[in-house]
């Protein structure tokens, strides 16, 4: 197999994303033509059909992977802009973070148990799905799940949230972008937060970023203990 040129992965990702973004705006922003969703699906099909090695492709997209933490740090800017408003919304923010993490982990474990009760490893990989990808992988590793599957489920949840973020915001919280942002960030973490900023929902995006960070912190401390309790309850 020939060695691909360096950063060919980044170039392919940028070209695919730009095309998907152009199509999204051209077709008047339908949910299913979300640029991230479309790019990921088309690249997955390309990698499967072409039988390309995924780790090599990701290694050749190092520039984008390096840029991601820098972009996440840029979330500090909207937090600074809305600092006074955030202090006022501190209570609902903290309550929702705790509530969504506990509710999401418990309900997903129950659903997984009802459908796949003979496979506790699969069920455990579903538990940290509402927590941001890298933290979800660490939690999956801590609770004995397949950390790669845990990360894949978390990423898929984020993409699903990104596809429907705008729709949910318009339907359920048109007058309360802060509340919508908190719910979307707590349930669908980084990718949905990025989508909110790309669609210029800055207030919702700021709260989503905060909720995502607090969920990651709360989840990394309490989800392993919650899983022990769920395991005893569901699997004996």
């Amino acid at each position: 197999m020939t060695i691909p040129p360096p950063e060919i992965g980044s170039i392919v990702c940028i070209a695919t994303y730009t095309t998907a973004f152009y199509l999204y705006r051209r077709c008047n922003k339908p949910a299913l033509l979300n640029p991230v969703f479309l790019s990921v699906v088309s690249l997955c099909i390309l990698l499967l059909v072409g039988n390309f090695d995924v780790p090599t492709f990701q290694h050749n997209a190092k520039v984008l992977l390096w840029l991601l933490p820098v972009c996440v740090c840029a979330l500090a800017m909207p937090v600074y802009r809305l600092r006074q408003e955030i202090v006022r919304q501190a209570k609902p923010l903290l309550l929702s973070v705790v509530g969504v993490t506990l509710l999401s982990c418990t309900s997903v474990a129950l659903v997984g148990f009802l459908l796949h009760s003979t496979q506790p490893q699969l069920v455990s990989a579903l538990v940290p799905k509402s927590i941001t990808g890298p933290v979800a992988q660490e939690i999956a590793r801590a609770i004995g799940a397949d950390f790669s599957l845990g990360g894949a489920v978390a990423i898929s949840t984020g993409i699903c949230g990104a596809v429907f973020a705008s729709l949910l915001l318009k339907r359920y919280a048109p007058q309360h972008p802060a509340l919508g942002g908190i719910a979307i960030g707590a349930a669908s973490h980084g990718i949905a937060t990025a989508q909110l900023f790309a669609e210029k929902h800055h207030i919702a995006g700021t709260y989503a970023g905060l909720a995502m960070a607090l969920c990651a912190l709360f989840g990394s401390i309490f989800v392993p203990f919650l899983w022990i309790a769920l395991q005893l309850l569901l699997f004996g």
Binding site: C13, T16, Y17, P35, V36, V40, C44, L47, V54, F57, Q58, A61, L65, L67, L68, V70, C71, V72, C73, A74, L75, A76, M77, P78, V79, Y80, P92, V100, L103, V108, V111, Q119, L122, L126, K129, S130, V135, A142, S148, A152, I155, S156, T157, C160, G161, L168, Y172, L179, G180, I182, A183, A186, G190, I191, T193, A194, F197, G205, A213, A216
Partner: protein, 173 residues
């Protein structure tokens, strides 16, 4: 198609170079936070990735740096020859943050492609994964928004009652 004049081209080049330099200079604080977080990660050995250390660092840095820059750029009582530099730095951080947030979805694409590694398990357990990822996520978001709408009015209600009672006592007196 109209060909732009030399002056227009010069203006475009000047604006573009200013935007590019502002983006590069303004991203320095964010890059610094990531570098510090990655170097602290093996020392602290927390069960969290370096990004979880970088974001709070960026918040702290911005909350200390930005008010100082704004004061130097806009509220500085002493006339200064380097005032345009403070203006530029202040705007550079804003421009850079907006640009980085705009390209953030693109940076998730190589990570999203990683789900191909688990194709076998995804095909085997497709039903439970579909139910958990799609309807469960949407129901969680919608339920959270509805609950938050109810609870935020209840949380803010006691203060409203206090304000009304304070107003009535003032009127009576």
């Amino acid at each position: 198609m109209r060909i732009p004049s030399a002056q227009q081209l010069r203006n475009i080049a000047h604006r573009t170079s200013r935007e590019v330099s502002a983006t590069l200079v303004g991203s320095v604080p964010f890059v610094l936070c990531v570098v510090i977080a990655k170097s602290l990660d093996p020392i602290l050995n927390l069960p969290l990735p370096p990004i979880a250390i970088a974001l709070p660092l960026a918040v702290v840095l911005l909350f200390t740096l930005k008010p100082r820059l704004e004061h130097l750029a806009y509220n500085n009582p002493k006339p200064s020859a380097i005032l345009p530099l403070w203006h530029f730095l202040d705007q550079a951080i804003e421009i850079s943050a907006n640009r980085l947030l705009f390209v953030m979805p693109l940076c998730f694409v190589p990570i999203g492609v990683g789900i191909v590694k688990d194709t076998n398990i995804l095909i085997q357990a497709w039903l439970v994964l579909f139910i958990v990822i799609v309807p469960h996520t949407l129901i969680t978001i919608a339920t959270t928004i509805l609950i938050l709408k109810r609870t935020t009015t209840k949380i803010s209600a006691p203060k409203r009652r206090r304000k009304i009672s304070q107003r009535t006592t003032k009127q009576q007196s």
